[in-house]
Symmetry: C2
Subunit: 231 residues, 2 copies
């Protein structure tokens, strides 16, 4: 493995591999193996298989702990947004992993080094190697630097509905009582309108309306979010 | 939680929960929560979200270690077969989990206790609770009793191709050299037939033929498997 990369891993992430051959394998694409059969190398696909599951557990544990009041459906959407191909490829590029993967000539020529699927697999195979070499907690420490800050900054929160996002933001600074109150309903049954207000610790933070209570609450939460972001 | 169930967990799996409320939550279906709003219970869905990822990592680690020569594609198929709804529901029933889940009346009447999706979720939520209460290695010990023996007995190996299965079986007793030899090819280019023999440590274990080398090798492996199973 390139010594500059080893230094970067140590300097940026405090990672020193005990078994560097695992790292080599993580950065060996099947196209390179196919072009160098005499070397009898292993490609990174089995490590990717393992790393995928390591990532899944760590991200799940993080979300489970970080958002104690967020329902399962939203957690699942958030997790899917974090571990999807595009996101992982972006993380791989941020870590400059793309510079160090060994590719076959054909793969290189056809732009493999920039390919989202390849970079996503690379991020996972790196994590698989890290896990085998240093265990779950060191793998978590890496994600704490690379992935979790993005999650906390709200980069994936569009996957949350407005009520959940509002709850997430308001409860960052501690447990608060968030309360949706139906204040008015009007019109005939088939065309009824509902007005809702949302309160945080008895302070009015947003108003909304809609053709069902649920829509009115989402609208109130969305309006509260707009006002919070203006602050 | 039912004391008989607690005893069973201890007797059969050597599991004693420190925090029994986690176990209670794992066995509380949302339909029960909805019918008992005054109790302010939590259902098992968030634990299921976590347990799903715990299972994914443990099964992946097991397969990765158990089958050092099996390619990623086959590992992925095997994993999918093990963690799919039907399989997990069967594991839940084997552990008699179905007897102890708290259901709402409507869910009970409509046969929820036998529903595959519900039982699958229950197996995952139990695993999520076990992981939170006792960590990864104790969760693994549970799978070592309930899931892995099934995997090793070949219950999911139909997901492997014949060559992989043959390799898996032959290498159970140590590293062996498995070798496919093309022994004959016949006929015109557009309708050619290939004959292959497969050897294990230079001993002939199967013969096959087909319209491509690949098919001939799969056929040889399939025939070797039949003969091995007859022994």
């Amino acid at each position: 493995m390139d010594s500059q990369f080893l230094e970067k891993l140590q300097k940026n992430f405090n990672i020193v591999f005990h078994d560097v051959s695992l790292l080599d394998q993580a950065f060996t694409h099947s196209s390179y193996v196919n072009e160098h059969r005499q070397l009898q190398l292993s490609d990174n696909e089995r490590l990717e298989f393992l790393g995928d599951a390591v990532l899944e557990l760590l991200v799940s544990r993080f979300l489970y702990t970080q958002y104690p009041n967020v329902p399962e459906g939203t957690l699942t959407k958030l997790r899917a947004a974090i571990v999807k191909e595009d996101s992982l490829a972006a993380f791989a590029k941020e870590c400059h992993f793309d510079r160090y993967i060994a590719l076959g000539k054909g793969e290189e020529r056809s732009g493999g080094r920039e390919r989202v699927a390849l970079l996503c697999d690379l991020f996972e195979s790196f994590l698989g190697a890290l896990y085998l070499d240093q265990g779950l907690e060191k793998s978590e420490a890496f994600l704490e630097q690379v992935v979790y800050p993005k999650v906390l900054s709200g980069a994936f929160s569009h996957e949350m509905d407005y009520k959940t996002r509002l709850q997430e933001i308001l409860q960052r600074s501690g447990d608060r009582i968030i309360d949706y109150r139906l204040v008015k309903e009007e019109g005939p049954a088939h065309d009824r309108l509902f007005w809702t207000e949302v309160y945080c610790d008895d302070e009015l933070v947003g108003k909304g309306y809609g053709k069902s209570k649920k829509i009115a609450e989402q609208d109130a939460a969305a309006n509260a979010l707009v006002q919070l972001e203006d602050k």
